[in-house]
Symmetry: C2
């Protein structure tokens, strides 16, 4: 049982937006036991949409189409669907009522072009969009399912979770798919692979292994697919228990759907402990990662981004002498930042970063890429100095990841 995703919209092809919808769909479909065979991104162009639909129908059993349902002239998906299914558009009264309701709620004048959102192919089943005016449309042909959804991520996501996947489950029986991702820090992809090669060679054929390296860390992912859920889970569990002793020194934790900052947040919340952050070169990235998750207020007290050196002195009481003798990018300064931000916010833990992300040297003579990170607890402070290379974006990313890693080990 395969699915294909077709995303429609020039904005993806010219790189004006990043296609986050497909990642969401990939994740949700996998959880439901449906493999994604291919993701195809194409233009708002009738002939191209028709071609993509035909190819997808040959490749897959379920075709999810996102985008191209807006009220404006560049959106032609609905008319093209009619051509593909030899159908015509008819007005759906429930959709029209929904459109009218939304416009009256926000007190916006209802235009004719908005009323056209209620036109759907006569052969389609409407999937009501409770978050916007463009409905989802479910069509079938030769036992294959086509679902056309709005491209607005928020609207698409609700339709997938609440309606598309439940409805697919009533029509198809899906195998069980599961992934287990192990997060490691500090060893390169090839050295890691060499270390666990023998174990990898002995994996059963229904479990695949993948390496996902990124800034300073490698994730290894076990993916299994089988009809028997209990057997598959037991086998994955067994394989994890075999590999863990081989990576003990570099293993940080599991990553289900979870990022390391989510794992840290959950752990702190369980422990009833709190965190404060003082950032310089990471510029708010660490705070932002923690507060992106709901429930952050249970453990996250706050942060200070002391970007300018003067603000380190004024707000975090870093001594001017330390800055003179050790430079503003130093373990000493990082430690004072961590110590004092912990006191400032009255938290159990604190983490601080100070560094030169480049491309030019700032208030410090430290080499570009130098970053000092400190962790403070009620009882102790420690810090490390790193060099994360010459590329600003990567320096910020690596420093953020390293800060998470150090904090994770501390808790």
């Amino acid at each position: 049982m395969h699915a294909e995703i077709i995303t429609i919209g020039d904005e993806i092809l010219i790189g004006q937006i990043i296609d986050t919808n497909s990642a969401f769909l990939g994740k949700e479909f996998n959880k439901a036991g449906i493999s994604i065979y291919q993701i195809t991104s194409i233009q708002d162009d009738k002939m191209h949409i028709l071609k993509a639909l035909k190819e997808a129908e040959e490749n897959a059993d379920i075709i999810i189409i996102t985008g191209g349902l807006g009220p404006t002239k560049d959106d032609i998906t609905k008319h093209t669907l009619c051509e593909y299914f030899d159908d015509t558009l008819v007005e759906d009264k429930t959709v029209l009522a929904n459109v009218e309701d939304i416009f009256s709620k926000y007190n916006i004048p209802l235009l004719d072009v908005n009323k056209q959102q209620a036109l759907v192919p006569s052969k389609s089943k409407v999937l009501m969009n409770h978050n916007g005016t463009a409905p989802g449309m479910w069509l079938e042909k030769n036992g294959k399912v086509f679902v056309s959804l709005p491209g607005v991520p928020f609207e698409m996501k609700a339709l997938i979770t609440d309606q598309v996947i439940p409805k697919l489950r009533t029509q198809f029986k899906f195998p069980y798919i599961t992934h287990k991702t192990l997060l490691t820090y500090g060893l390169g992809e090839s050295s890691l692979a060499a270390r666990i090669e023998e174990w990898q060679n002995n994996l059963p054929n229904f479990i695949k292994l993948a390496y996902l390296p990124s800034l300073g860390r490698v994730r290894i992912r076990l993916s299994g697919k089988a009809a028997d859920e209990a057997m598959l889970n037991a086998e994955i569990q067994k394989q994890v228990s075999l590999v863990l002793p081989l990576i003990e020194d570099i293993f940080v934790g599991y990553e289900e759907d979870e990022s390391i900052e989510t794992i840290i947040g959950k752990r702190l919340t369980e422990l009833g402990q709190t965190l404060a952050v003082a950032e310089s070169c990471t510029g708010g990235r660490i705070a932002q990662a923690f507060t992106a998750n709901a429930g952050a207020s249970a453990f996250f007290k706050g942060s200070v981004v002391t970007y300018a050196t003067a603000s380190k002195v004024k707000i975090l009481k870093v001594s001017e002498d330390d800055i003179k003798s050790h430079s503003v990018v130093s373990k000493e300064v990082a430690e004072t930042m961590a110590k004092n931000v912990r006191v400032l916010f009255n938290s159990d833990y604190a983490i601080s970063t100070t560094g030169n992300a480049g491309p030019t040297k700032g208030d410090s003579e430290a080499e570009i890429g130098t970053v000092c990170i400190a962790i403070a607890t009620k009882d102790a402070i420690y810090s490390e100095e790193f060099n994360f290379g010459k590329h600003r974006e990567r320096v910020i990313g690596k420093a953020t990841n390293k800060a998470f890693e150090m904090l994770r080990k501390e808790i």
Copy 2:
């Protein structure tokens, strides 16, 4: 002249990573005058890769393949390229020297599997990767160009900019492609479309228009393609001057490759003025956006994320009386935050946010989605209250965008 992008890797199809490479490629190719016909994401699977290569060869003149070049077992792209081009892998001495150099520089043991990175199809021209071990490979067949690149964004980007695009330019003559994006705030897509419909109907056929709605704003993009660069630029300029009077009240600025925070940063730097930020519900998102750009230290003094109410009182001197009488999510509190963070960091401008992002109410009785934003200058303070709905991620995103919009108008 069309290009197609093929991305290889299960991690995209199962949604474990978001495909940012394609957006970069789309943007850079467009700038160079090359239209992307299609983006196809497929698994690490030999038959599927062969099928995708064949289809891309039919559709496009230039085929860019990213991913699948890592040293570990899940990567099979190189062997599949040999099969497609009826070729064999040979060792490239320059690539081997590069691999050895990287490993000795970082003092990592060089394994046999790493040496295999130096194997390339004998018919390929090597594109040296100065940032990693996997080289780019340039192959040709029936006048069509295939370029295989590593999937690591950082390595891929440098190869595209420094080698692939310059080399394509020596072999092909590309038309001129240009985009002009106008950023509007505060009017819905369909109302905007209705307002400018007559103008849109009169656009010449080599200029396309697209609407890109997102949290609280609509971008309208003019895309032109022609052999004559001067004529195209003049026509785009003319069309912009025709539409501007129609959208005067909602027009914020142009968005070239630039986000609104980049525009603000440049403007402040030109004026020699500075900014400080006090964030509550946006949790560091605003600071992070400003500091993501190089040169931020010229205007960005720093920020405080006062997530906990106590820290608003302690660090930003918000009065407990104000919190009691107006609630912590109030224009009064936002104004004090902005006023005091400006003084704390000694900046010219300050911006503050306080709100309930949900999903549950925090320290305030304010409705979920309520956000107050304040701007402080040396002479004045003003604030506005908004409701951004019930969805945490969208509330944070809309509040951040609105803060940028308010600040942009102020400067």
